[in-house]
C-alpha cells in the first residue's frame, strides 16, 4: 500500500515537472506563446533560482546576505569566459561558473560566517561592491564598466532557453527539497532556530552555516551562468547592492524559508514589473511600498514557512471528488 502511494506521488510530481518544462517549450516552438512573453517568464525562472539561493541563506540558514548578486556575477563571468575564450561547451561552462561561485562562497564564508546578524549583512554587502570594482578593473576578462556582448544559443532560441532554464529551476527545487529533508537540512534548520541549543546538542554551528552558504553560492552561480548566456550581455553592475536587494524582496514576499513561496513570488513579481509598465516611473515606487506593507501586516510573507505541495493539492482535489461520490 505504502509503496503504491509513494509511486503515485512520484509519478504525479514527475508529470508536473515534465509538463512545466516541456509543454510551454513546445508552445513557444510552435508560436502559441510569443517571444516577448516567453522571455519574461524565462527571466522569471532565473529570478526564481536567485530567490531560492537567497532563501537558502536568509530563510533556511537564518543569516542575512546582501551580496548574493556577487555570486551571481561570478557565475556569469566565469561561464562566459570559459565558453567564449576557452571554447568549453556551454553546459560545462555553466557548471564551471557555478563551481567557481561555490568556491568563492567557501573562501568568503570562512572568515565572515563567524560574524552574525547585521555585521554579516554588511560584510556581504561590501563583498558585492568589492567584486563590482574588481570586475570594472579586470578589463581583459570582463570588458570593463560597459560590459560585454556575445551571442549564445540560449539568447538565439526562446524554446531551448525555456527548457534549459526552467529545467534547471525544477532540478534545483527537487535537489533542495531532498537536501532540506536530509540530516544536513535538519541540522541547518536547528542552527537557524537556536544556535546555542543546536551547539549544545553536538551540532557544529559553523559547519552547517558554511554548508548552507556554499550551497546558496552554488545556486546563485548557476543562476548567473544561466543569466549571462540568456541575456547575451554582462555588466559589473550585476553584482551591485541593488540587485541583491531585488532578490531579497522576492524571498521576503514569498515567505522566508519557503522554497515554493520564493518561486511563486519571483514569477508573480517579474510578471508584475512588465505588466505595470504603463505606470512608467511610478512602478518603481510599488515594490518598496508592497514591501513595507508586507512587513507591517504579514511579516512572515506569502506562504510563511509552509511549502506549496502538488501532492497535497492533488489529494485535496481527489478527496473532494470522493466526497461528492459518497454524497450521491
Amino acid at each position: 500500500m505504502k509503496t503504491t502511494v509513494r509511486m503515485r506521488n512520484f509519478i504525479l510530481l514527475a508529470a508536473v515537472a515534465v509538463a512545466v518544462v516541456f509543454l510551454p517549450g513546445l508552445l513557444i516552438k510552435i508560436g502559441v506563446i510569443d517571444a516577448y512573453t516567453a522571455q519574461i517568464f524565462t527571466l522569471a525562472g532565473i529570478n526564481a533560482i536567485m530567490a531560492i539561493s537567497v532563501n537558502i541563506i536568509c530563510g533556511v540558514t537564518g543569516q542575512l546576505s546582501l551580496g548574493q548578486a556577487g555570486f551571481m556575477a561570478i557565475g556569469a563571468y566565469v561561464c562566459i569566459w570559459f565558453s567564449q575564450a576557452m571554447h568549453f561547451p556551454l553546459p560545462l561552462a555553466m557548471v564551471t561558473g557555478a563551481l567557481f561561485a561555490a568556491v568563492a562562497g567557501f573562501f568568503i564564508g570562512f572568515p565572515t560566517l563567524k560574524l552574525s546578524g547585521d555585521y554579516l549583512a554588511i560584510v556581504t554587502l561590501g563583498f558585492g561592491e568589492i567584486l563590482r570594482v574588481i570586475f570594472v578593473n579586470l578589463k581583459v576578462f570582463t570588458g570593463g564598466a560597459n560590459g560585454k556582448r556575445f551571442t549564445t544559443i540560449l539568447a538565439a532560441s526562446a524554446d531551448i532557453a525555456w527548457i534549459v532554464i526552467i529545467g534547471t529551476l525544477a532540478a534545483v527545487v527537487i535537489f533542495l527539497q531532498n537536501f532540506l529533508r536530509s540530516t544536513y537540512g535538519r541540522a541547518i534548520f536547528s542552527v537557524r532556530e537556536d544556535e546555542i541549543a543546536a551547539n549544545s546538542n553536538g551540532i557544529s554551528v559553523f559547519k552547517y552555516k558554511m554548508t548552507g552558504f556554499v550551497v546558496a553560492a552554488f545556486v546563485a552561480g548557476l543562476a548567473g551562468a544561466l543569466y549571462a548566456p540568456f541575456i547575451g550581455f554582462v555588466k559589473p553592475d550585476l553584482s551591485s547592492f541593488n540587485r541583491s536587494v531585488d532578490y531579497l524582496i522576492y524571498v521576503v514576499l514569498g515567505g522566508m524559508g519557503s522554497v515554493t513561496g520564493s518561486v511563486i513570488a519571483a514569477f508573480v513579481l517579474t510578471y508584475l514589473q512588465e505588466f505595470l509598465r504603463f505606470l512608467k516611473e511610478y512602478r518603481l515606487l510599488i515594490y518598496p511600498v508592497i514591501l513595507i506593507l508586507v512587513m507591517l501586516f504579514r511579516p512572515q510573507g506569502l506562504l510563511g514557512m509552509k511549502e506549496f505541495s502538488f501532492v497535497r493539492a492533488w489529494q485535496r482535489v481527489t478527496a473532494r471528488r470522493g466526497a461528492k461520490d459518497v454524497g450521491k
Binding site: 560574524l115 546578524g117 563583498f127 570594472v136 578593473n137 515606487l285 518598496p288 513595507i292 512587513m295
Partner: protein, 299 residues
C-alpha cells in the same frame, strides 16, 4: 619630496572628506545605539537635504548668507523627514525581529530614491549644485580650498554641539539611558518614543548638513547620490564601533583619509573597494570596531 607633497595634499583632502563621513556616520551610530537598527534610509535623508539646499541656493544664488540659510532649511526638512520615517515605518516594527526592521529600512530607502525620481520638479537627471567660486589658499607646495575649510569647520562645530547635547543636557542623558537599557529607562519615566524620535531628528539634521557639504565638495546631485556616501559612512560607523559616538567621528576621519590616500597613491578606481576591504578586515580582527564595547550573550 614629491611623495611628501602628495601625502599632505591628500591628507587635507582626506580630512575634508572624512569630516563629511563622520557627520553622516554619527546618525547611523546614534540610531543603532538606541534601536539596534541599521537605518539604510540615512543616506537618502542626506540626498533630501542636498536637494533642499539646492533649491534654496538656486533661488538666492550662491553667497555665504544663502549657504547658511540652506543649512537651516535643509536641517528642518530632514528633521521632519527623519521623525516621519521613524514614526510610520520603524516604530510599528520596534518589537519585531531585527531582519524585518532591516528590510523595512531598505524599503524606505528605495521609496525615498524612487520617490524623488518621480517627483515632477526633481526628476531623475543629475543637476549642478550651485557653489561659491573656489579660492585656493596655498601654503608652499600644497593648498587648501575655501570649500574644504568650510567643510572642516562646519563639521567640527556641529560635532562639538552634538557632543554638548549628548553629554551635558537632560535629553542627552535620556538618550544615553535609553541606549543603555530601553526598558529600564522607560520604567524610570523616560518617554522612550520621544527620545527615539529626537535621536532620529538629530541624526537627520547631521545628515542634512553632511548632504550640503558633500554636494558643495562634489557639486553634482541626483536621487541616488546618497547611496554611496551613506554606505561609506556606515562603514565608518562600524569601523569606529557602532553605537559609539566618538568612534563614529574617528571612523569617519580614518575612512576619509584612507580613501583619498588610495586615490593619490594607488588608483582612484579602487577607492571604493579599499573602504569595504577595511571594513571586512576590521570586522574580522575586532568585530566590535575600534571603540565599541563587547556585548555578552546570555543564554
Amino acid at each position: 619630496m614629491e611623495t611628501l607633497v602628495v601625502f599632505f595634499q591628500q591628507l587635507i583632502n582626506g580630512l575634508s572628506l572624512g569630516s563629511i563621513y563622520a557627520l553622516i556616520a554619527l546618525g547611523y551610530t546614534m540610531v543603532y545605539g538606541i534601536v539596534m537598527l541599521i537605518n539604510f534610509a540615512h543616506g537618502d535623508v542626506l540626498m533630501v537635504g542636498a536637494y533642499t539646499g539646492f533649491y534654496v541656493l538656486h533661488a538666492m544664488g550662491p553667497s555665504p548668507h544663502a549657504l547658511a540659510l540652506s543649512f537651516v532649511a535643509s536641517m528642518i526638512v530632514c528633521a521632519v523627514a527623519g521623525v516621519a520615517i521613524e514614526r510610520f515605518a520603524y516604530r510599528p516594527l520596534r518589537s519585531a525581529p531585527r531582519l524585518n526592521s532591516l528590510i523595512t529600512a531598505i524599503a524606505v530607502s528605495l521609496i525615498l530614491q524612487n520617490g524623488m525620481r518621480v517627483l515632477p520638479f526633481v526628476g531623475p537627471n543629475p543637476r549642478q549644485f550651485p557653489t561659491m567660486p573656489t579660492v585656493n589658499i596655498s601654503f608652499g607646495a600644497f593648498g587648501i580650498s575655501n570649500i574644504q575649510i568650510i567643510v572642516i569647520l562646519v563639521s567640527i562645530v556641529l560635532m562639538l554641539i552634538l557632543n554638548y547635547i549628548i553629554n551635558w543636557t537632560k535629553t542627552g542623558k535620556a538618550m544615553r539611558a535609553v541606549s543603555f537599557d530601553m526598558r529600564a529607562a522607560s520604567l524610570m519615566g523616560i518617554s522612550v518614543n520621544r527620545v527615539v524620535a529626537f535621536t532620529f531628528a538629530l541624526g537627520s539634521v547631521l545628515a542634512a548638513a553632511g548632504g550640503i557639504l558633500f554636494a558643495t565638495a562634489y557639486p553634482q546631485i541626483d536621487p541616488t547620490m546618497g547611496a554611496m556616501p551613506g554606505l561609506k559612512a556606515f562603514v565608518a560607523a562600524v569601523l569606529g564601533g557602532i553605537g559609539s559616538v566618538p568612534g563614529a567621528m574617528l571612523g569617519g576621519y580614518i575612512l576619509g583619509v584612507a580613501e583619498t590616500m588610495t586615490k593619490g597613491f594607488i588608483s582612484s578606481q579602487f577607492a571604493d573597494a579599499i573602504s569595504f576591504s577595511i571594513l571586512i578586515v576590521i570586522l574580522l580582527v575586532k568585530p566590535t570596531g575600534l571603540m565599541g564595547t563587547k556585548v555578552r550573550v546570555k543564554v
